[in-house]
C-alpha cells in the first residue's frame, strides 16, 4: 500500500508514492534523488540527515515522509544561491570545517537554524547547539570556527 505525498522541496512542488513506513530522508534520497541528505545512524543521534521543515531544523530520519505532507522542506541542495555559495557554506570551505564531508550537510543545516535564532552565538553556544550533529573527522575545532565565521558573514 502506498500513499501519495506532496510537499515543496527547495522551492519546487514535488510528490511521490511512498509506503507509510518510508522516512522523509528516504523519500528525499530515493524518490527525489536529493542525496546530499545522509543517513549515519539508526538511533536519531548523528544529525547527518538534518533538513529544514517549515523553517526549523529536524532530523529527516525521524519523521515519516507522510508527515511532511504539504510542508516546505529545505535540504542542503537548496541552500546556495545558484552557483554562489551561502555565506555559511563559504565559511565551512574557508575555515576547513569539513574533511570527509559526510556530516557537512547536516552541520550546515543545523548551524543555519542556530544562527536564525541566535545571530551571534558564543563558542560555547555553538558547541552545545551541535549536540545532535556528530563529526568523526574534524574534532569540531574548525566546524565551530566555520559557524562563528558564517554567522559573522550573515550578520554583515
Amino acid at each position: 500500500m502506498t500513499l501519495t505525498v506532496s510537499m515543496t522541496v527547495n522551492g519546487e512542488s514535488v510528490s511521490a508514492d511512498v509506503e507509510p513506513r518510508t522516512l522523509l530522508v528516504q523519500m528525499l534520497r530515493e524518490h527525489l534523488g536529493l542525496t546530499g541528505t545522509h543517513v549515519g545512524c539508526d538511533t536519531s543521534q548523528c544529525g547527518t540527515c538534518v533538513v529544514h521543515v517549515n523553517g526549523e531544523s529536524l532530523k529527516s530520519c525521524t519523521m515519516l515522509a507522510v508527515q511532511a505532507e504539504g510542508a516546505d522542506v529545505t535540504t542542503i541542495e537548496g541552500v546556495a544561491d545558484g552557483e554562489t555559495l551561502h555565506p555559511m557554506q563559504q565559511a565551512f570551505h574557508e575555515n576547513h570545517g569539513l574533511q570527509c564531508g559526510f556530516c557537512t550537510p547536516g552541520m550546515i543545516m543545523s548551524s543555519l537554524d542556530l544562527v536564525k535564532n541566535n545571530p551571534d552565538p558564543s563558542e560555547r553556544e555553538i558547541r552545545e547547539w551541535l549536540e545532535g550533529n556528530l563529526c568523526r573527522c574534524t574534532g569540531y575545532h574548525n566546524i565551530v570556527k566555520s559557524i562563528d565565521a558564517g554567522a559573522k558573514a550573515m550578520r554583515s
Binding site: I76, L98, C100, G101, C137, V144
Partner: protein
Amino acid sequence: MTEQGIGAAIARREDRRFVTGQGHYTDDINRMGQTYAVFVRSPHAHAIINSISMDAAKGMPGVRDIFIGKDLADGGVGPLICGWAITDVNGEPHKAPPHPALAMGKVRHVGDPVAVVIADTQHQAMDAAAKVDVDYSVLDAAADLATAQGSNVQIHEEAPGNLCYEWEIGDKAAIDAAFDSAAHVTELEFLNNRLVPNAMEPRACVAEYDGGTGDYTLYLTSQNPHVHRLVMSAFNGLAPEHKLRVVAPDVGGGFGSKIFVYAEEVVLTWACRHVGRPIKWTAERSESFVTDAHGRDHVTKAELALDADGLFLAMRVNTMANMGAYLSTFASAVPTYLYATLLAGQYTTGGIYANVKAVFTNTVPVDAYRGAGRPEAAYVVERLVEAAAAETGRDPADLRKRNFVQKDAFPYQTPVVMQYDCGDFHGSMEQALALIGYTGFAGRKEASRADGKLRGIGFSSYIEACGIAPSAAVGSLGAGVGLWESANIRFNPTGNVQLFTGCHSHGQGHETAYAQIVADKLGVPYEQVDVIHGDTARIPFGMGTYGSRSAAVGGSAILKAADKVIEKGKKIAAHCLEASEDDIEFSAGNFTVTGTDKAMNIAEVAFTAYVPHNYPDGVEPGLDETAFYDPLNFSFPAGTHICEVEIDPDTGAVSIEKYAAVDDFGTLINPLIVEGQIHGGIAQGVGQAVLESAVYDGDGQLVSGSYMDYTMPRADDLPHYDVGFNSVPSPLNPLGVKGCGEAGAIAAPAAVMNAVHNALRDMGVNHVEMPATPQRVWEAIQGAQGAAE
C-alpha cells in the same frame, strides 16, 4: 613557496561538492534494476548452526534469492584472508583459521553473517530476512580478553586455547638483568580500551555484473580499491583482476575501518551474477557496530627500569591483544610490528623486551584503527614515563628531556628494529611547554581548587612510524603485499594536467594537496591540475591510504613522476630551442637554455609532445609519465602534546580545559589540512581517553552497540586546540614529509590520562582505566578516600 604550491594553506577544492550536497558516496549510487541485500546475522556470540530454514522467506514479496555459506563454498568463493603472517616464538606461522564470508557450521560473534536475502526493495529484503529461521545451539562464549586464552571455550579447532600466536622481540635475559640492576622500577598494568571506528558514513557497496562482457563492477567504501581488487581476485576467486573494477567514490571517513576486505563485499560481488541484477547493501549503524573491525583492545603489564640519575635502562612489556573471532585483513601486524617496534618512544632506553599474545575471542574482529598499534605503544611508554616521574619526584618534562634522543644523534637505531631518521624532541617539548603556558599551571591549579575542582596536567611525547614502508622490509616481516605507491601525471595537449594516484582520499584533501605538489614542481597553474583517485579502471595500481602514507609515499611517487616529465620535457625543449639537452634548465614551468633568454613553457612542450611536427628523433610522442615509489624507510613523526583537565570530584566528570600540540611532520604541504588532521586525531584520542569504549558482556553481547551507549565525542566534549609545528624535514623522501594523519590519536590518550592521574594524585588515586568516565573517576576517588580513612 608559491601562493598555491607546497606549503600554501589554501582552502580545499573538494569542499564545494560537499557543502552543496553534491558529494557522491557509495549509497548515493543507484544502478538500473538494482536490488537490495540484507544480511541475516547471528544474535549469539558462539553457537552451532543446526539448520537454516528459508522457505518462508523465499515466498515473501520481491525476494530474488537467498544465499548461505554453502552456496558460496559450492561456488568456489574463497574465505576472507589475513594478509600478514606472523611467525611465533617457536618459529611457527600464526593460527589463521578459515573465515567464510557467510558462517558455516558455527557462528563466532554477534553479527556474524549467516545468510543474505536479495530482494527488489530494501523493505522487502528486511521483511524477508526476518523470516529466515536459523536454529542454533548456543555455546558458552569467550568474550573477555583477559580470560579467553586457555578457557574451556574453543572458538576454532585450529587454534588451541584460543591462542593465535605468541610473539616476542628483544633479548629477555639481558633485559631481566638490566632490571635487576635498576635503582627504580616503575610497573603498571592497564587496558587499552576497545574502540569502534565509527566513520560517519556507514560501509556500503553496490555490485553489478555485465553478462555481455563478463565484467564486474563493485562500488565500495574503500580506502584502497586496488587492494580490494587484488584480494577479491587472488584469494576470494570472484573474478580475474582484469574483469573486476573496484570504484571507491567519495568515502565518508575511514580511520582504518575501510581498509579491510569484508564479507558483505565478497558476497555481493559473487551474488550479483547469480541474481542477474545489481545489488546494493548499506550498513545500518547498529550493523556497523557488529561488523566493522574494531580497534585497540590490549591488556598490558609494563615496566620501566631507571638508574639513580633517572636514565631509562630498560623496558619490559607483556601484552595480550584481542583479535576478535577471526583474523581480519591486517590484524596480526597491529600488536606486533606496528606496536612493539615503537616502544623506544623518543628515548634512549637501553634495552626493550616485549612479549605479545594474540588471542581469539567471540567478538567482532579487531584490526587497524587510526594509529594501529602506535597509540597502544605510545600509551605504554608515556604512562610509564609519567608514573616514573611521579614516583621518583621528578618533573615529567625534565625526566623526558633527560632521556630524549639528542638532536645530533640521528640517524638513531633503537633496540626494537626502527632507525629514526631525524627529529628535534627537545625543541618540540620546549615549544609545547610555552604553548600550554607551563609556568602558569600552578596558578591555574590553585584557581580550580578554589572552585572545588581538581586540575591536572599531562604530557605525551610520542613517536610513530608512518609512510609504511619499504616493500622488502615489510615482506621479510610477513606482509603479503608491497607497500610502494604509484602516480601518473598526464599532460593534455592544451597543457592542463590529470594526476592519477593510487592513494585514496576519504577526507584527507588529496585533491588539493596533490595538485599543490604538481603545481609547485611543474609550474603548472594549480587550477589546471586535476587529481583522480579511487577507480581501478582509471588509476595505476596503487596501495591506497592508511598509516599516514599518502604524503610520504604517494606524494613521493608524484614527485618521481614529475621528474620523469621534466626529463622528457628537456629533450623536447632542447630540440625545439636548438640547444643541447644538457644546457636546458627547468624552473617554475619554463625550460630555458642556460645563459640565454630562449625558453619554452611546459604547456608548449606538452602541445609539442602531442603534435610532434617538429620533434626530436627517438623520443616518443605524448607527455604522460608514471612512477612507482618504494620508500627507503618508515618516516617518524613525533611531537609533544600537553593536556590540562579539570575534574569535578563530586561527579567524577573530566573536562578537557587546554590542549597544546607541537608536532614534527617534516615538510607541510598544506598547513590548513595538516592542522585539521591533528584536530581530528586529538578528538579521537580524547574520545579513547575519556569517552569511548566497546563493552561486551559475559555472553558476548556488545552492550555499547549504538550511539545510545557508545559515547561519540561531541563538540561540547572537546576544547579549542592550540597547535604548533616544529618541522624537521625527513631526509628519506624527496618531499621531506613524515605524515600527519594519525599523530593526534597516538599522542592524545596518554596526554589526557596523564593529566587525569596528575589531577587525582592529590586525592590518593594512582590508577584509572580508559575511558576515564565520570563513574570510573568518582569510584577511584571513593576507593582512595575509603583506603585513606
